[in-house]
C-alpha cells in the first residue's frame, strides 16, 4: 500500500502543478474553456485519488474547489481575479495537505478552515468547513436539479483482493458523486466450507444520480478495469431519486436475489415514465479509460534514479566500446573489426537515445517562474508581464534541477530591482506594465537562456565606482564593458550593503554564478541604463558527455572540448619556445598562445613540429600548444572527486579505450589562470 501511496503522491504533485499552470494561464486568458476544463480535471483526479488513499482532508477540500469550478464550467460563475487568487492559495494549501496528509499542524488547520470558508463564500454558501458531502450547487439560483441517473453494473473478478483493491472503497467513491443506491448481490457466495476468504463473490448494481458526466464514473473504476466487469449506462436524463414510485420499486429490487440488469432497470424506468421515446438510449460502449487519461498514454513515468542509472550504464558502454574498437584495430582481424564497427554504431544510437530520454524541456521550470512573477509583482505593486519563448528547448534533467534556483534568483532580481513602479515607468515614458522575457535557444553545443527586463537597467559607471570603493579594482584600471558587468558576480561586490541604491543588482549574483558553475554553466550580464538588463546563462547540453579533441602533451592525453576549438595549426617547435611575448601569427592574425608543456612544468618537447589548437576565449582566439592532435573523441565525463576539487583548469576526466585516463580541459578557466600567472610574473619583473 505504501508503494501505491507514493505513486499517488507523485501523481498528485503532477496534478497540482498542472492545476497551477492552468490557473496562471487562465489569468491571461480568462475566457478559455479548455483551461477551465483542465483545472477541473486536475481537481477531479486529485479528489478521487485523495479519497482512495486516505487523504480525506485533501479530498474534501478539493471537493469544494471542484464544486466552485464546476459552477464556472457551467457558466454560472465568471473567472475573476479574486477567484484565481483564492484558488491559487488553495493550490498552495493542497501542497501542504499532500505533505501532512490528515494530521494537520495547527497552522495548517487554521488555513484549512479559512480557505474552506472562503471557497464556500464563493459558492454562495456560508456553511462552515464541515459542511461535508451533499453540497448542492445552487449558487446561481438555478434551482433545477440537472442530475442524470446512471445504471452501473460492477462485477469484480474473484481475485480482485489480490492486489489490495477494496471494492467497497470504489462504491464509496461512487457514492460521493451524487445520490446513490447500491444493491449488492450475494447469491454467488458458496456455503461456508466451500468459501475461500480471499475471493470476492459479491457483485453490485448501482443507481447513481449525479451531475458528473459518464467519464467521472469511469474514472472511479480506472484502476480495476482489468479485474472487473463494469458497465455504465445512462438510465435517465432526470434525477430518478426524485421519483417516489421509482424509489419504491428500487427498494423492492434491493431486497431481491438476482440482478435486474440494465435492460431490467430500463424497463422499470420506461414503465415509470410511460414515455415511448426513450430517446437517450444508453450507448453500449464498453467501459473505457476516461478522456482525461488518454493524452498521457503515449508517455510513461520513470523514476529519475533509473534514468541516472541508465545514463551511467550507457557511459560505461561507450567506454568499453572504445576499448573494443582499439583492440580490433590492433589485432587486424577483419571480422572482429566488422563487429566492433557495428557495436560502435549501435552504441552511438543507444547513447543518443539515452541522452534524449534524459532531456527535459525548459518548460517544466516555467510554472514556478510565472508564479514568482505573479506573487512578487503583486506584493511590490508593480505591473509585470512575463513571456517565455523557446520553452521546448531541452536540457539534461540534472541541469534543469540545478538551474531552477539560480534562475528564480535572477527573475526575482528583475522584478525587485529592475522593473520600476508604474508611476516611475510612466514618468520615464514607458508603458506602465514592465516586461520580463524568458528566452531559451540552442547555440552550438550549448543552450542559452536569456532573461531580459525592460526596467531601469544598470549604469556601468556606478558599478565601477562601487568596485573601486570596495577595493575590487584600482581607480586607474581600464576595464572593458563586459569586465565591468562581470564585477557584479564578484563575491566582494554582492555582499555590499545597500547595493540596491547603487545598481539595483548584484545581490547574491556571486551565488548564482557559483551554482551555475557547478553544472558547467556560465552567466553574463549586459545592461543599458534606462532601457533594461539582459542576463544570459550558457549551459552545456548535458553534464556527462563532451565532444572533444584528443591531444597529447608529454605522456598524458587531454581532451579539449570541441565547442571551444576554432582551428588547428602545425608549428615549428622553435616558434613556440622561449618566446618573450607569447604571440604568434596565425592566419595573418596575431594570436597569444600558451605552451602547455611549459605551463604544466613539463620538460620541453623534442619533436621538431608541434601543433597549436586555437580556442575561442571571450572575444579573441588563444592558441594552446600541444605535442600533437590525435583526433576527435567522445569523452564520457567523470568527476575527479573531492581530492581535486580545487583543480579548476580540469573539468573532469575520461577513460580512454586503452583504459588510461585522459583529462578534460576547461579552456576558459585554464586561460584565465595562465593569464593571471603572467600578470604576476610581469609585475615581479617590474
Amino acid at each position: 500500500m505504501e508503494k501505491f501511496t507514493e505513486k499517488f503522491i507523485e501523481e498528485a504533485t503532477d496534478n497540482i502543478s498542472n492545476l497551477e499552470d492552468a490557473l496562471l494561464k487562465l489569468e491571461n486568458d480568462p475566457g478559455s474553456t479548455d483551461l477551465v476544463e483542465r483545472v477541473f480535471r486536475s481537481m477531479h483526479s486529485l479528489k478521487g485519488g485523495g479519497s482512495m488513499f486516505g487523504f480525506t482532508k485533501l479530498s474534501d477540500f478539493t471537493h469544494h474547489l471542484e464544486n466552485l469550478w464546476d459552477n464556472i464550467r457551467e457558466g454560472h460563475l465568471q473567472v475573476n481575479q479574486g477567484l484565481l487568487d483564492i484558488t491559487l492559495q488553495a493550490v498552495d494549501h493542497l501542497k501542504v495537505l499532500l505533505k501532512e496528509k490528515d494530521e494537520l499542524s495547527p497552522d495548517t488547520e487554521t488555513t484549512h478552515k479559512n480557505l474552506t470558508v472562503q471557497v464556500m463564500k464563493f459558492l454562495g454558501e456560508e456553511n462552515t468547513a464541515d459542511a461535508g458531502e451533499g453540497v448542492s450547487d445552487s449558487s446561481s439560483g438555478d434551482s433545477g436539479d440537472d442530475s442524470k441517473t446512471y445504471y452501473i453494473y460492477f462485477d469484480p473478478a474473484e481475485n480482485i483482493f489480490d492486489d489490495g483493491t477494496n471494492p467497497l472503497f470504489l462504491l464509496d467513491e461512487l457514492n460521493s458523486l451524487g445520490q446513490c443506491k447500491i444493491i449488492p448481490y450475494l447469491h454467488r457466495i458458496p456455503v461456508l466450507h466451500e468459501m475461500e476468504p480471499v475471493k470476492c463473490y459479491t457483485y453490485w448494481e448501482v443507481i447513481l444520480a449525479t451531475q458528473e458526466d459518464e467519464n467521472a464514473i469511469h474514472d472511479v473504476f480506472i484502476f480495476v478495469q482489468e479485474q472487473a466487469e463494469i458497465n455504465v449506462h445512462l438510465l435517465s436524463n432526470t434525477n430518478l431519486f426524485n421519483n417516489s414510485s421509482f424509489l419504491e420499486q428500487l427498494e423492492q429490487q434491493a431486497s431481491g436475489e438476482k440482478d435486474l440488469g440494465f435492460e431490467g432497470f430500463r424497463d422499470m424506468v420506461d414503465g415509470l415514465t410511460a414515455k415511448e421515446d426513450s430517446a437517450e438510449v444508453a450507448d453500449n460502449r464498453p467501459a473505457k479509460g476516461s478522456g482525461s487519461k488518454e493524452s498521457t498514454i503515449s508517455s510513461i513515468r520513470v523514476e529519475s534514479e533509473k534514468i541516472d542509472h541508465m545514463m551511467n550504464l550507457v557511459s560505461e558502454l561507450v567506454t568499453t566500446q572504445a576499448r573494443l574498437s582499439l583492440r580490433a584495430e590492433q589485432l587486424k582481424d577483419s571480422e572482429l573489426e566488422g563487429i566492433a564497427e557495428n557495436v560502435q554504431k549501435l552504441t552511438r544510437q543507444l547513447r543518443d537515445n539515452a541522452f534524449d530520454v534524459a532531456l527535459v524541456p525548459v518548460e517544466t521550470m516555467l510554472t514556478r517562474f510565472q508564479r514568482l512573477v505573479r506573487d512578487l509583482s503583486g506584493s511590490l505593486n508593480k505591473k509585470v508581464n512575463f513571456t517565455a519563448e523557446g520553452t521546448d528547448t531541452e536540457l539534461d534533467k540534472n541541469i534543469i534541477e540545478k538551474l531552477t534556483d539560480p534562475l528564480l534568483h535572477i527573475i526575482r532580481n528583475c522584478i525587485d530591482h529592475g522593473i520600476e513602479t508604474p508611476e516611475e515607468r510612466s514618468k520615464a515614458g514607458k508603458p506602465e506594465e514592465g516586461k520580463i522575457t524568458f528566452k531559451a535557444f540552442y547555440s552550438g553545443a550549448s543552450v542559452h537562456i536569456q532573461v531580459h527586463d525592460d526596467g531601469k537597467g544598470i549604469d556601468p559607471e556606478k558599478i565601477r565606482k562601487k568596485a573601486v570603493e570596495r577595493n575590487l579594482i584600482s581607480p586607474e584600471a581600464s576595464l572593458s564593458r563586459k569586465e565591468i558587468f562581470d564585477l557584479t558576480f564578484h563575491p566582494g561586490f554582492s555582499t555590499a550593503e545597500n547595493i540596491t541604491d547603487v545598481s539595483g543588482r548584484g545581490v547574491g549574483m556571486d551565488v548564482v554564478k557559483r551554482n551555475l558553475g557547478e553544472i558547467r554553466g556560465e552567466v553574463e550580464i549586459d545592461s543599458e541604463p534606462g532601457t533594461g538588463t539582459t542576463i544570459t546563462v550558457k549551459l552545456p547540453l548535458t553534464l556527462s558527455i563532451v565532444d572533444g579533441l584528443l591531444v597529447q602533451i608529454a605522456e598524458s592525453k587531454y581532451v579539449i572540448p570541441l565547442s571551444a576549438v576554432d582551428k588547428i595549426y602545425a608549428v615549428k617547435h622553435s616558434e613556440v619556445v622561449d618566446h618573450f611575448n607569447n604571440l604568434i601569427v596565425l592566419d595573418g592574425e596575431r594570436t597569444p598562445f600558451f605552451n602547455l608543456r611549459e605551463e604544466f612544468h613539463l620538460p620541453e618537447s623534442e619533436n621538431e613540429t608541434e601543433e597549436i589548437v586555437a580556442v575561442r576565449y571571450e572575444e579573441t582566439r588563444v592558441g594552446l600548444v600541444v605535442d600533437n592532435v590525435i583526433g576527435e573523441y567522445q569523452a564520457v565525463l567523470k568527476s575527479m572527486g573531492k581530492m581535486y576539487k580545487e583543480q579548476e583548469m580540469i573539468s573532469g576526466a575520461t577513460i580512454l579505450g586503452d583504459g588510461t585516463v585522459a583529462l578534460v580541459m576547461d579552456t576558459n578557466k585554464m586561460i584565465e589562470k595562465f593569464s593571471s600567472y603572467q600578470e604576476d610574473r610581469n609585475s615581479i619583473v617590474e
Partner: protein, 184 residues
C-alpha cells in the same frame, strides 16, 4: 555490515614505507592493486600523483611517502596501490595510496594498542591512532580518515617540514617510542 560492526573487527592491513611499518584498519581497505600508469594532473602538490582508472571510475592516487614527508622512492615490483575508502567532510571518498609494499593482515586486539607518542614523532600524531608491538617490531596504526581529510592535506606538508627540521631524519620511530618509555 554497519559501521559499528565493522569497527568491532580487529584486523589490520600492514604495509611498509621505507623501513617503517604501518597499519590501516581493514574496514577502510577496499582492494590492493598493482602499480599502474598514473595520469598526472598539472599544477598539483607533488604527493598527489594523479588519477587512475579503477573499473571505470576515476580514482585519485596519493604517494604516501611524499605525503608523510619521506623522500620519494623508485617504484618496484612490490609497490602497490591500496584502494581505501575514507571519510572526508562527512562524505565517503575513495582514494588510492601508493605504498612500498603490502605486508599482511594482522589481528591486533584493542588492549595491544598503545597511545601514540606525543613527541619525537615524524608524522603528525593526529594521523596515528595508536602503536602496537607485534613480536619485536612496532607498528603504527593510522587513522585513515584524518590522514586524508581535506584540511590535513595542506597541513601535512608544513608539519612534516617542521618535523624534519626538529629531528634527524635517520631517527626511527622505534627509538622515539623507546625514548618515550624511558621518560615514563
Amino acid at each position: 555490515m554497519n559501521k559499528e560492526e565493522l569497527e568491532q573487527i580487529t584486523s589490520y592491513l600492514t604495509f611498509k614505507l621505507g623501513e617503517e611499518e604501518f597499519a590501516a584498519h581493514v574496514s577502510r581497505v577496499l582492494s590492493i592493486m598493482e602499480m599502474t600508469k598514473i595520469t598526472q594532473i598539472p599544477k598539483t602538490p607533488g604527493y598527489m600523483k594523479g588519477v587512475i582508472n579503477l573499473r571505470g571510475q576515476v580514482l585519485p592516487v596519493i604517494d604516501t611517502r611524499l605525503k608523510f614527508g619521506m623522500s620519494a622512492a623508485e617504484y618496484t615490483a612490490n609497490t602497490c596501490i591500496v584502494v581505501m575508502e575514507v571519510e572526508v567532510g562527512g562524505e565517503n571518498v575513495q582514494v588510492g595510496t601508493i605504498v612500498d609494499s603490502v605486508q599482511e593482515v594482522l589481528e591486533i586486539e584493542k588492549d595491544q594498542i598503545q597511545p601514540p607518542p606525543t613527541i619525537g614523532n615524524r608524522i603528525k600524531s593526529e594521523f596515528i591512532y595508536g602503536m602496537a608491538k607485534i613480536e619485536d617490531k612496532f607498528i603504527m596504526i593510522l587513522d585513515m580518515d584524518k590522514v586524508f581529510s581535506a584540511e590535513e592535506i595542506e597541513d601535512v606538508q608544513a608539519s612534516t617540514e617542521r618535523g624534519r627540521q626538529q629531528q634527524p631524519a635517520d631517527e626511527s620511530p622505534q627509538e622515539a617510542v623507546n625514548e618515550k618509555h624511558e621518560a615514563e
